[in-house]
Protein backbone atom coordinates (compact mmCIF):
# COMPACT_ATOMS: atom_id res chain seq x y z
CA UNK A 1 0.00 0.00 0.00
CA UNK A 2 1.40 3.34 -1.00
CA UNK A 3 1.72 6.18 1.44
CA UNK A 4 1.83 9.15 -0.84
CA UNK A 5 5.62 9.13 -0.78
CA UNK A 6 5.64 9.23 -4.53
CA UNK A 7 3.04 9.71 -7.17
CA UNK A 8 -0.40 8.81 -5.89
CA UNK A 9 -1.59 5.27 -6.40
CA UNK A 10 -5.22 4.12 -6.41
CA UNK A 11 -6.63 3.46 -2.99
CA UNK A 12 -7.40 -0.26 -2.66
CA UNK A 13 -9.12 -0.85 0.67
CA UNK A 14 -10.67 -4.04 2.00
CA UNK A 15 -14.40 -3.78 2.65
CA UNK A 16 -15.41 -2.55 6.17
CA UNK A 17 -11.80 -2.36 7.37
CA UNK A 18 -10.44 0.78 9.03
CA UNK A 19 -7.06 2.01 7.83
CA UNK A 20 -4.85 4.50 9.63
CA UNK A 21 -2.15 6.79 8.36
CA UNK A 22 0.04 9.20 10.34
CA UNK A 23 1.89 12.17 8.95
CA UNK A 24 3.18 15.25 10.77
CA UNK A 25 0.61 15.83 13.54
CA UNK A 26 -2.18 14.17 11.58
CA UNK A 27 -3.88 10.82 12.22
CA UNK A 28 -6.00 9.99 9.19
CA UNK A 29 -8.54 7.15 9.20
CA UNK A 30 -10.45 5.76 6.24
CA UNK A 31 -12.79 2.81 5.69
CA UNK A 32 -14.63 1.65 2.56
CA UNK A 33 -18.19 0.42 2.77
CA UNK A 34 -19.33 -0.39 -0.72
CA UNK A 35 -19.02 2.81 -2.71
CA UNK A 36 -18.83 5.04 0.35
CA UNK A 37 -15.56 6.01 2.03
CA UNK A 38 -15.83 6.91 5.72
CA UNK A 39 -13.10 9.23 6.93
CA UNK A 40 -12.08 11.01 10.09
CA UNK A 41 -8.96 12.60 11.44
CA UNK A 42 -7.27 13.65 14.63
CA UNK A 43 -4.22 15.71 15.57
CA UNK A 44 -1.55 15.20 18.19
CA UNK A 45 -0.14 18.04 20.31
CA UNK A 46 1.89 20.31 18.07
CA UNK A 47 4.94 20.08 20.36
CA UNK A 48 5.19 16.30 19.88
CA UNK A 49 7.66 14.78 17.40
CA UNK A 50 6.33 14.44 13.86
CA UNK A 51 4.48 11.22 13.05
CA UNK A 52 5.06 9.00 10.05
CA UNK A 53 3.23 5.76 9.45
CA UNK A 54 2.08 4.41 6.09
CA UNK A 55 -1.57 3.60 5.48
CA UNK A 56 -2.21 0.29 7.19
CA UNK A 57 -5.20 -1.64 8.58
CA UNK A 58 -6.15 -1.06 12.24
CA UNK A 59 -8.54 -3.10 14.35
CA UNK A 60 -10.93 -0.23 15.00
CA UNK A 61 -11.32 3.54 15.18
CA UNK A 62 -10.04 5.06 18.46
CA UNK A 63 -12.94 5.42 20.90
CA UNK A 64 -12.88 9.21 21.16
CA UNK A 65 -13.18 9.71 17.40
CA UNK A 66 -16.35 10.06 15.38
CA UNK A 67 -16.79 9.69 11.65
CA UNK A 68 -16.55 13.17 10.17
CA UNK A 69 -17.15 12.58 6.47
CA UNK A 70 -18.74 10.01 4.20
CA UNK A 71 -17.50 10.31 0.64
CA UNK A 72 -19.66 8.67 -1.96
CA UNK A 73 -17.42 7.64 -4.82
CA UNK A 74 -18.96 5.18 -7.29
CA UNK A 75 -16.68 2.68 -8.98
CA UNK A 76 -16.12 4.14 -12.39
CA UNK A 77 -13.06 4.40 -14.59
CA UNK A 78 -11.61 6.93 -12.12
CA UNK A 79 -9.94 5.77 -8.94
CA UNK A 80 -9.72 7.39 -5.54
CA UNK A 81 -6.20 8.38 -4.50
CA UNK A 82 -4.47 9.85 -1.48
CA UNK A 83 -1.84 12.37 -2.40
CA UNK A 84 0.09 15.34 -1.05
CA UNK A 85 -0.22 18.98 -1.99
CA UNK A 86 1.13 22.35 -0.87
CA UNK A 87 -0.94 24.67 1.32
CA UNK A 88 -4.04 26.37 -0.07
CA UNK A 89 -2.86 29.83 1.01
CA UNK A 90 0.49 31.59 0.92
CA UNK A 91 2.76 31.03 3.90
CA UNK A 92 4.35 33.83 5.86
CA UNK A 93 7.80 32.58 6.79
CA UNK A 94 9.38 34.14 9.86
CA UNK A 95 13.12 33.41 9.90
CA UNK A 96 14.49 32.66 13.37
CA UNK A 97 16.79 35.69 13.01
CA UNK A 98 16.54 38.80 10.85
CA UNK A 99 18.26 38.39 7.50
CA UNK A 100 20.34 41.28 6.17
CA UNK A 101 21.44 41.44 2.55
CA UNK A 102 24.16 43.80 1.40
CA UNK A 103 23.63 46.01 -1.69
CA UNK A 104 23.97 44.26 -5.06
CA UNK A 105 24.24 40.82 -3.51
CA UNK A 106 22.17 37.69 -3.30
CA UNK A 107 21.37 35.00 -0.77
CA UNK A 108 19.58 31.67 -0.93
CA UNK A 109 17.42 30.61 2.03
CA UNK A 110 15.85 27.18 2.36
CA UNK A 111 12.51 27.22 4.12
CA UNK A 112 10.10 24.39 4.80
CA UNK A 113 6.32 24.46 5.02
CA UNK A 114 3.83 21.75 6.06
CA UNK A 115 2.09 19.65 3.41
CA UNK A 116 -1.63 18.97 2.93
CA UNK A 117 -2.99 15.45 2.54
CA UNK A 118 -5.65 15.17 -0.15
CA UNK A 119 -8.22 12.52 -1.00
CA UNK A 120 -9.15 13.04 -4.61
CA UNK A 121 -10.12 11.44 -7.87
CA UNK A 122 -7.22 10.17 -9.93
CA UNK A 123 -5.44 12.32 -12.50
CA UNK A 124 -5.76 15.75 -10.92
CA UNK A 125 -9.46 15.18 -10.36
CA UNK A 126 -11.86 16.75 -7.90
CA UNK A 127 -10.56 17.17 -4.34
CA UNK A 128 -12.95 15.25 -2.11
CA UNK A 129 -11.27 16.01 1.20
CA UNK A 130 -8.03 17.53 2.39
CA UNK A 131 -6.29 17.93 5.70
CA UNK A 132 -3.17 19.84 6.73
CA UNK A 133 -0.53 17.57 8.21
CA UNK A 134 0.07 20.26 10.84
CA UNK A 135 -2.76 22.57 11.95
CA UNK A 136 -1.62 25.89 10.50
CA UNK A 137 -1.74 29.24 12.28
CA UNK A 138 -3.33 32.10 10.40
CA UNK A 139 -1.71 35.47 10.01
CA UNK A 140 -2.54 38.75 8.32
CA UNK A 141 -0.22 40.17 5.73
CA UNK A 142 -0.72 43.67 4.38
CA UNK A 143 0.06 47.35 4.72
CA UNK A 144 -2.42 47.74 7.57
CA UNK A 145 -5.32 45.93 9.22
CA UNK A 146 -7.78 47.06 6.55
CA UNK A 147 -5.83 46.16 3.42
CA UNK A 148 -4.17 42.80 3.05
CA UNK A 149 -4.97 39.14 2.99
CA UNK A 150 -4.88 36.07 5.16
CA UNK A 151 -2.07 33.60 4.97
CA UNK A 152 -0.55 30.88 7.12
CA UNK A 153 2.44 31.51 9.32
CA UNK A 154 5.45 29.41 10.21
CA UNK A 155 8.81 29.89 11.89
CA UNK A 156 11.87 28.63 10.11
CA UNK A 157 15.55 28.42 10.89
CA UNK A 158 15.96 29.22 7.17
CA UNK A 159 19.46 27.82 6.58
CA UNK A 160 21.37 29.28 3.67
CA UNK A 161 23.56 26.23 3.04
CA UNK A 162 22.11 23.34 1.05
CA UNK A 163 23.87 20.67 3.11
CA UNK A 164 22.33 22.02 6.33
CA UNK A 165 18.79 21.55 5.09
CA UNK A 166 16.73 19.15 7.21
CA UNK A 167 14.22 16.90 5.48
CA UNK A 168 10.86 16.02 6.96
CA UNK A 169 8.31 13.65 5.51
CA UNK A 170 5.44 16.07 6.10
CA UNK A 171 7.11 19.27 4.93
CA UNK A 172 8.22 20.62 1.57
CA UNK A 173 11.33 22.72 1.08
CA UNK A 174 11.58 25.82 -1.06
CA UNK A 175 14.77 27.52 -2.18
CA UNK A 176 14.24 31.28 -1.93
CA UNK A 177 16.78 33.38 -3.75
CA UNK A 178 16.78 36.93 -2.42
CA UNK A 179 18.45 39.47 -4.68
CA UNK A 180 19.18 42.98 -3.46
CA UNK A 181 19.14 45.08 -6.64
CA UNK A 182 19.53 48.36 -4.79
CA UNK A 183 22.28 50.39 -3.18
CA UNK A 184 21.00 50.02 0.39
CA UNK A 185 21.16 47.20 2.89
CA UNK A 186 17.87 45.35 3.26
CA UNK A 187 16.61 43.61 6.38
CA UNK A 188 14.08 40.83 6.06
CA UNK A 189 12.14 39.71 9.12
CA UNK A 190 9.36 37.87 7.28
CA UNK A 191 8.59 36.68 3.80
CA UNK A 192 5.41 35.67 2.08
CA UNK A 193 5.79 32.47 0.15
CA UNK A 194 3.10 32.09 -2.55
CA UNK A 195 2.72 28.32 -2.28
CA UNK A 196 -0.54 28.28 -4.23
CA UNK A 197 1.38 29.08 -7.42
CA UNK A 198 4.04 26.39 -6.87
CA UNK A 199 4.11 22.69 -7.71
CA UNK A 200 5.25 19.90 -5.40
CA UNK A 201 8.15 17.60 -6.38
CA UNK A 202 9.82 14.58 -4.83
CA UNK A 203 13.22 12.98 -4.97
CA UNK A 204 14.24 9.81 -3.17
CA UNK A 205 17.34 11.46 -1.69
CA UNK A 206 16.00 14.96 -1.03
CA UNK A 207 12.36 14.51 0.03
CA UNK A 208 9.73 17.03 -0.99
CA UNK A 209 10.57 20.28 -2.74
CA UNK A 210 8.73 23.07 -4.50
CA UNK A 211 9.90 25.06 -7.48
CA UNK A 212 12.53 27.60 -6.51
CA UNK A 213 11.50 31.22 -6.12
CA UNK A 214 13.54 34.33 -6.80
CA UNK A 215 12.74 37.72 -5.25
CA UNK A 216 14.38 40.80 -6.74
CA UNK A 217 14.12 43.66 -4.28
CA UNK A 218 14.90 47.35 -4.80
CA UNK A 219 14.94 48.84 -1.30
CA UNK A 220 15.00 52.44 -2.61
CA UNK A 221 11.60 52.12 -4.27
CA UNK A 222 10.22 49.15 -2.36
CA UNK A 223 9.66 47.46 -5.71
CA UNK A 224 9.83 43.68 -5.62
CA UNK A 225 9.48 41.21 -8.44
CA UNK A 226 9.06 37.50 -7.99
CA UNK A 227 9.96 34.79 -10.43
CA UNK A 228 9.11 31.15 -9.91
CA UNK A 229 11.61 28.82 -11.53
CA UNK A 230 10.41 25.84 -13.53
CA UNK A 231 11.81 23.28 -11.10
CA UNK A 232 13.48 22.75 -7.69
CA UNK A 233 17.24 23.38 -7.24
CA UNK A 234 19.57 21.62 -9.68
CA UNK A 235 21.50 19.98 -6.82
CA UNK A 236 18.58 17.56 -6.37
CA UNK A 237 19.03 15.93 -9.76
CA UNK A 238 15.98 14.26 -11.25
CA UNK A 239 12.73 15.17 -9.55
CA UNK A 240 9.22 13.79 -9.92
CA UNK A 241 6.17 16.05 -10.01
CA UNK A 242 3.71 15.03 -7.25
CA UNK A 243 1.12 17.81 -7.54
CA UNK A 244 0.77 20.77 -9.87
CA UNK A 245 0.20 24.28 -8.53
CA UNK A 246 -3.27 24.89 -7.11
CA UNK A 247 -3.62 28.15 -9.01
CA UNK A 248 -3.39 27.66 -12.75
CA UNK A 249 -3.90 31.27 -13.85
CA UNK A 250 -0.39 32.60 -14.40
CA UNK A 251 -1.30 36.29 -14.52
CA UNK A 252 -3.23 36.09 -11.26
CA UNK A 253 -0.47 33.91 -9.84
CA UNK A 254 2.02 36.65 -10.55
CA UNK A 255 -0.27 39.37 -9.25
CA UNK A 256 -1.03 37.47 -6.05
CA UNK A 257 2.60 36.85 -5.46
CA UNK A 258 3.44 40.50 -6.03
CA UNK A 259 0.74 41.61 -3.64
CA UNK A 260 1.80 39.23 -0.96
CA UNK A 261 5.51 39.48 -1.06
CA UNK A 262 7.08 40.81 2.08
CA UNK A 263 3.82 42.04 3.52
Amino acid sequence: MSIVAHKAEPLCLAESQWYEMQLGDLFFYVMRKGEVYWTTQDYQESASPALFKPLAPVSDLPEHLEIKEKIYFPETSEQLVITLQLADKPYQVNPAADVKIAPQSRLILYVSTPLWLQVRAEDEGEILAEYPTVIPRLSWVGKNTTEGSLCYSTRSSAPSVFSEVKHHKHRALTALELVNDGEQLITIDRLSLPLNILGLYHTDSGGYWTESVRYRIKPETGETTIVAAQRPPDELGDVELISSARSKDKSSRFRTAMNLIMG
Partner: protein, 285 residues
Protein backbone atom coordinates in the same frame (compact mmCIF):
# COMPACT_ATOMS: atom_id res chain seq x y z
CA UNK B 1 -60.11 63.98 -19.80
CA UNK B 2 -62.91 61.35 -19.66
CA UNK B 3 -63.91 62.43 -23.19
CA UNK B 4 -60.35 61.88 -24.36
CA UNK B 5 -60.27 58.44 -22.80
CA UNK B 6 -63.62 57.62 -24.38
CA UNK B 7 -62.20 58.31 -27.82
CA UNK B 8 -59.49 55.65 -27.40
CA UNK B 9 -60.41 52.45 -29.18
CA UNK B 10 -60.23 48.96 -27.72
CA UNK B 11 -57.39 48.13 -30.09
CA UNK B 12 -55.26 50.97 -28.65
CA UNK B 13 -56.04 49.86 -25.10
CA UNK B 14 -55.10 46.34 -26.05
CA UNK B 15 -51.84 47.44 -27.70
CA UNK B 16 -50.94 49.62 -24.70
CA UNK B 17 -51.68 46.81 -22.24
CA UNK B 18 -49.68 44.43 -24.39
CA UNK B 19 -46.71 46.79 -24.46
CA UNK B 20 -46.78 47.28 -20.70
CA UNK B 21 -47.06 43.51 -20.14
CA UNK B 22 -44.30 42.73 -22.59
CA UNK B 23 -42.24 45.51 -21.03
CA UNK B 24 -42.70 44.03 -17.59
CA UNK B 25 -41.64 40.57 -18.77
CA UNK B 26 -38.71 41.87 -20.81
CA UNK B 27 -37.51 44.08 -17.93
CA UNK B 28 -37.76 41.17 -15.48
CA UNK B 29 -35.92 38.82 -17.83
CA UNK B 30 -33.22 41.40 -18.56
CA UNK B 31 -32.67 42.11 -14.88
CA UNK B 32 -32.49 38.36 -14.12
CA UNK B 33 -30.10 37.85 -17.01
CA UNK B 34 -27.88 40.63 -15.67
CA UNK B 35 -27.86 39.02 -12.22
CA UNK B 36 -26.95 35.57 -13.57
CA UNK B 37 -24.24 36.94 -15.89
CA UNK B 38 -22.61 38.96 -13.11
CA UNK B 39 -22.91 36.28 -10.42
CA UNK B 40 -19.19 35.81 -9.88
CA UNK B 41 -18.07 39.16 -11.22
CA UNK B 42 -19.86 41.75 -9.11
CA UNK B 43 -20.75 42.04 -5.44
CA UNK B 44 -24.32 41.23 -4.35
CA UNK B 45 -24.82 44.94 -3.73
CA UNK B 46 -23.83 45.97 -7.25
CA UNK B 47 -25.77 43.13 -8.84
CA UNK B 48 -28.94 44.18 -7.04
CA UNK B 49 -28.43 47.81 -7.95
CA UNK B 50 -27.72 47.01 -11.60
CA UNK B 51 -30.69 44.68 -11.94
CA UNK B 52 -33.02 47.26 -10.34
CA UNK B 53 -31.80 49.98 -12.71
CA UNK B 54 -32.21 47.72 -15.74
CA UNK B 55 -35.71 46.76 -14.66
CA UNK B 56 -36.94 50.29 -14.02
CA UNK B 57 -35.39 51.81 -17.17
CA UNK B 58 -36.72 49.10 -19.49
CA UNK B 59 -40.13 49.06 -17.89
CA UNK B 60 -40.35 52.87 -18.09
CA UNK B 61 -39.54 52.78 -21.82
CA UNK B 62 -42.29 50.25 -22.48
CA UNK B 63 -44.71 52.09 -20.21
CA UNK B 64 -44.16 55.37 -22.10
CA UNK B 65 -44.59 53.51 -25.39
CA UNK B 66 -47.88 52.19 -24.06
CA UNK B 67 -49.01 55.71 -23.21
CA UNK B 68 -48.02 56.83 -26.69
CA UNK B 69 -50.25 54.08 -28.12
CA UNK B 70 -53.11 55.64 -26.21
CA UNK B 71 -52.45 58.92 -27.93
CA UNK B 72 -50.63 60.74 -25.17
CA UNK B 73 -48.04 63.20 -26.46
CA UNK B 74 -44.62 62.83 -24.85
CA UNK B 75 -44.01 66.59 -24.82
CA UNK B 76 -47.29 67.13 -22.96
CA UNK B 77 -46.39 64.30 -20.62
CA UNK B 78 -43.01 65.80 -19.87
CA UNK B 79 -44.62 69.18 -19.21
CA UNK B 80 -47.19 67.56 -16.98
CA UNK B 81 -44.45 65.63 -15.24
CA UNK B 82 -42.85 68.92 -14.19
CA UNK B 83 -46.06 70.16 -12.64
CA UNK B 84 -46.80 66.73 -11.22
CA UNK B 85 -43.38 66.42 -9.64
CA UNK B 86 -43.99 69.60 -7.61
CA UNK B 87 -47.32 68.27 -6.40
CA UNK B 88 -45.90 64.82 -5.72
CA UNK B 89 -42.85 66.35 -4.08
CA UNK B 90 -45.01 68.15 -1.53
CA UNK B 91 -47.15 65.10 -0.96
CA UNK B 92 -44.28 62.71 -0.53
CA UNK B 93 -41.50 64.64 1.11
CA UNK B 94 -40.51 61.76 3.36
CA UNK B 95 -40.45 59.23 0.55
CA UNK B 96 -38.49 61.61 -1.67
CA UNK B 97 -36.06 62.25 1.15
CA UNK B 98 -35.62 58.52 1.65
CA UNK B 99 -35.18 58.02 -2.07
CA UNK B 100 -32.48 60.68 -2.33
CA UNK B 101 -30.84 59.40 0.86
CA UNK B 102 -30.86 55.96 -0.74
CA UNK B 103 -29.01 57.31 -3.76
CA UNK B 104 -26.41 58.94 -1.50
CA UNK B 105 -26.00 55.68 0.39
CA UNK B 106 -25.56 53.79 -2.87
CA UNK B 107 -22.92 56.28 -3.99
CA UNK B 108 -21.09 56.31 -0.64
CA UNK B 109 -21.43 52.52 -0.19
CA UNK B 110 -20.83 52.34 3.56
CA UNK B 111 -22.19 48.78 3.61
CA UNK B 112 -23.20 45.96 1.31
CA UNK B 113 -25.72 43.16 1.42
CA UNK B 114 -24.49 40.60 3.94
CA UNK B 115 -22.70 43.16 6.14
CA UNK B 116 -23.59 43.30 9.82
CA UNK B 117 -24.67 46.74 11.03
CA UNK B 118 -25.08 48.06 14.55
CA UNK B 119 -27.66 50.79 14.63
CA UNK B 120 -28.79 52.13 18.02
CA UNK B 121 -29.89 49.06 19.98
CA UNK B 122 -30.19 46.87 16.89
CA UNK B 123 -27.54 44.66 15.36
CA UNK B 124 -28.31 42.72 12.22
CA UNK B 125 -27.31 41.55 8.78
CA UNK B 126 -28.28 43.67 5.77
CA UNK B 127 -30.62 41.51 3.68
CA UNK B 128 -31.80 44.12 1.17
CA UNK B 129 -31.03 47.65 0.07
CA UNK B 130 -34.06 49.25 -1.53
CA UNK B 131 -34.82 52.72 -2.82
CA UNK B 132 -36.68 53.82 0.31
CA UNK B 133 -35.24 51.66 3.09
CA UNK B 134 -32.89 48.86 4.00
CA UNK B 135 -33.90 45.64 5.74
CA UNK B 136 -31.88 44.13 8.56
CA UNK B 137 -32.19 40.62 9.92
CA UNK B 138 -31.24 40.47 13.58
CA UNK B 139 -29.51 37.41 15.00
CA UNK B 140 -32.74 36.30 16.68
CA UNK B 141 -34.30 36.32 13.19
CA UNK B 142 -36.35 39.51 13.35
CA UNK B 143 -36.63 41.79 10.31
CA UNK B 144 -36.02 45.50 10.91
CA UNK B 145 -36.85 48.13 8.29
CA UNK B 146 -34.62 51.19 8.50
CA UNK B 147 -35.54 54.22 6.33
CA UNK B 148 -32.61 55.45 4.24
CA UNK B 149 -33.00 58.95 5.69
CA UNK B 150 -32.33 57.57 9.17
CA UNK B 151 -29.11 55.97 7.96
CA UNK B 152 -27.94 59.24 6.45
CA UNK B 153 -28.64 61.17 9.64
CA UNK B 154 -27.42 58.76 12.30
CA UNK B 155 -24.18 57.07 13.20
CA UNK B 156 -24.08 53.35 12.59
CA UNK B 157 -21.33 50.78 12.85
CA UNK B 158 -20.45 48.33 10.11
CA UNK B 159 -19.15 45.32 12.02
CA UNK B 160 -18.10 43.33 8.98
CA UNK B 161 -16.25 45.81 6.82
CA UNK B 162 -12.81 44.33 7.39
CA UNK B 163 -11.86 40.64 7.44
CA UNK B 164 -10.05 40.74 10.78
CA UNK B 165 -11.16 42.16 14.13
CA UNK B 166 -9.55 42.71 17.50
CA UNK B 167 -10.95 41.05 20.59
CA UNK B 168 -10.34 43.18 23.68
CA UNK B 169 -10.70 41.32 26.95
CA UNK B 170 -10.52 43.23 30.22
CA UNK B 171 -9.38 40.95 33.01
CA UNK B 172 -8.96 42.17 36.58
CA UNK B 173 -6.42 40.69 38.96
CA UNK B 174 -6.09 41.29 42.70
CA UNK B 175 -3.84 44.12 43.88
CA UNK B 176 -1.42 41.80 45.63
CA UNK B 177 -0.75 39.70 42.52
CA UNK B 178 2.31 39.95 40.29
CA UNK B 179 1.15 42.03 37.32
CA UNK B 180 4.03 41.02 35.06
CA UNK B 181 3.47 37.33 35.72
CA UNK B 182 -0.23 37.68 34.90
CA UNK B 183 0.59 39.70 31.77
CA UNK B 184 3.04 37.09 30.48
CA UNK B 185 0.56 34.32 31.25
CA UNK B 186 -2.20 36.04 29.28
CA UNK B 187 0.13 36.79 26.37
CA UNK B 188 1.21 33.16 26.20
CA UNK B 189 -2.33 31.84 26.16
CA UNK B 190 -3.19 34.32 23.39
CA UNK B 191 -0.15 33.30 21.35
CA UNK B 192 -0.99 29.62 21.77
CA UNK B 193 -4.66 30.04 20.94
CA UNK B 194 -5.55 28.47 17.60
CA UNK B 195 -7.89 31.25 16.50
CA UNK B 196 -5.45 34.07 17.31
CA UNK B 197 -3.62 35.52 14.34
CA UNK B 198 0.16 35.47 14.56
CA UNK B 199 0.32 38.90 13.00
CA UNK B 200 -0.79 41.49 14.13
CA UNK B 201 0.61 40.18 17.38
CA UNK B 202 -1.50 40.03 20.55
CA UNK B 203 -0.65 42.49 23.30
CA UNK B 204 -1.52 42.95 26.95
CA UNK B 205 -1.52 46.27 28.81
CA UNK B 206 -2.57 47.57 32.21
CA UNK B 207 -5.55 49.83 31.65
CA UNK B 208 -6.47 51.05 35.13
CA UNK B 209 -6.40 50.60 38.88
CA UNK B 210 -10.01 49.73 39.50
CA UNK B 211 -11.93 49.69 42.79
CA UNK B 212 -11.15 46.04 43.47
CA UNK B 213 -8.70 45.03 40.80
CA UNK B 214 -5.84 45.96 38.56
CA UNK B 215 -7.35 45.79 35.08
CA UNK B 216 -5.39 44.22 32.24
CA UNK B 217 -6.49 44.44 28.64
CA UNK B 218 -5.62 41.47 26.46
CA UNK B 219 -6.04 42.31 22.77
CA UNK B 220 -6.00 39.53 20.21
CA UNK B 221 -6.59 39.76 16.45
CA UNK B 222 -8.88 37.10 15.02
CA UNK B 223 -10.93 36.43 11.90
CA UNK B 224 -14.11 38.49 11.88
CA UNK B 225 -16.19 35.35 11.44
CA UNK B 226 -14.63 33.77 14.53
CA UNK B 227 -14.94 36.76 16.83
CA UNK B 228 -17.59 35.40 19.20
CA UNK B 229 -16.05 31.95 19.51
CA UNK B 230 -12.60 33.42 20.00
CA UNK B 231 -13.82 35.80 22.71
CA UNK B 232 -15.55 33.05 24.64
CA UNK B 233 -12.66 30.61 24.31
CA UNK B 234 -10.09 33.21 25.32
CA UNK B 235 -12.09 34.22 28.38
CA UNK B 236 -12.39 30.59 29.48
CA UNK B 237 -8.69 29.99 28.80
CA UNK B 238 -7.74 33.14 30.74
CA UNK B 239 -9.84 32.12 33.75
CA UNK B 240 -8.35 28.61 33.74
CA UNK B 241 -4.78 29.85 33.29
CA UNK B 242 -5.06 32.41 36.10
CA UNK B 243 -6.70 29.87 38.42
CA UNK B 244 -3.97 27.38 37.66
CA UNK B 245 -1.26 29.93 38.42
CA UNK B 246 -3.03 30.91 41.66
CA UNK B 247 -3.68 34.46 40.48
CA UNK B 248 -6.88 35.83 41.96
CA UNK B 249 -9.56 37.39 39.78
CA UNK B 250 -11.33 39.49 42.44
CA UNK B 251 -15.04 40.11 42.63
CA UNK B 252 -16.07 43.63 43.69
CA UNK B 253 -15.15 44.09 47.36
CA UNK B 254 -13.33 46.60 49.49
CA UNK B 255 -10.15 45.81 51.38
CA UNK B 256 -9.28 47.91 54.39
CA UNK B 257 -5.58 48.30 55.16
CA UNK B 258 -3.87 50.15 57.90
CA UNK B 259 -0.31 50.99 57.05
CA UNK B 260 1.34 48.33 54.91
CA UNK B 261 -1.14 46.31 52.87
CA UNK B 262 0.48 43.04 53.86
CA UNK B 263 -0.24 43.54 57.54
CA UNK B 264 -3.54 42.34 58.91
CA UNK B 265 -6.18 44.66 60.24
CA UNK B 266 -5.95 44.82 64.06
CA UNK B 267 -9.27 44.54 65.88
CA UNK B 268 -9.43 46.17 69.30
CA UNK B 269 -11.92 44.92 71.89
CA UNK B 270 -12.62 47.41 74.66
CA UNK B 271 -14.46 46.30 77.82
CA UNK B 272 -15.92 48.25 80.69
CA UNK B 273 -12.79 47.83 82.86
CA UNK B 274 -10.71 49.79 80.37
CA UNK B 275 -8.78 46.66 79.43
CA UNK B 276 -7.87 46.36 75.87
CA UNK B 277 -6.99 43.30 73.88
CA UNK B 278 -5.71 43.14 70.35
CA UNK B 279 -6.93 40.25 68.26
CA UNK B 280 -5.09 39.71 65.06
CA UNK B 281 -7.17 38.34 62.27
CA UNK B 282 -5.76 36.10 59.59
CA UNK B 283 -5.75 37.94 56.27
CA UNK B 284 -8.03 36.56 53.56
CA UNK B 285 -6.41 33.70 51.74
Amino acid sequence: MPEVIATIGIAEWFRAALLVSIGFIVAKLASRFFRSVTENKLSTHHRLLGSMLIFYILFLIFFLSGLKQLGFSMSVLLGAAGVLSVAVGFASQTSASNLISGLFLIAEKPFEIGDVLKLDEYTGEVISIDLISIKLRTFDNVMIRVPNETLIKTTFTNLSRFPIRRVDLVIGIAYNEDIEQARQLLLKLASDHQRALEHPEPFCIVTQFNASSVDLQLSVWVLRTELKDAKSELLIAAKNALDEAGIEIPYPHTSLYIGKHTQPLPIVMVNDNVQSKVITQEPDK
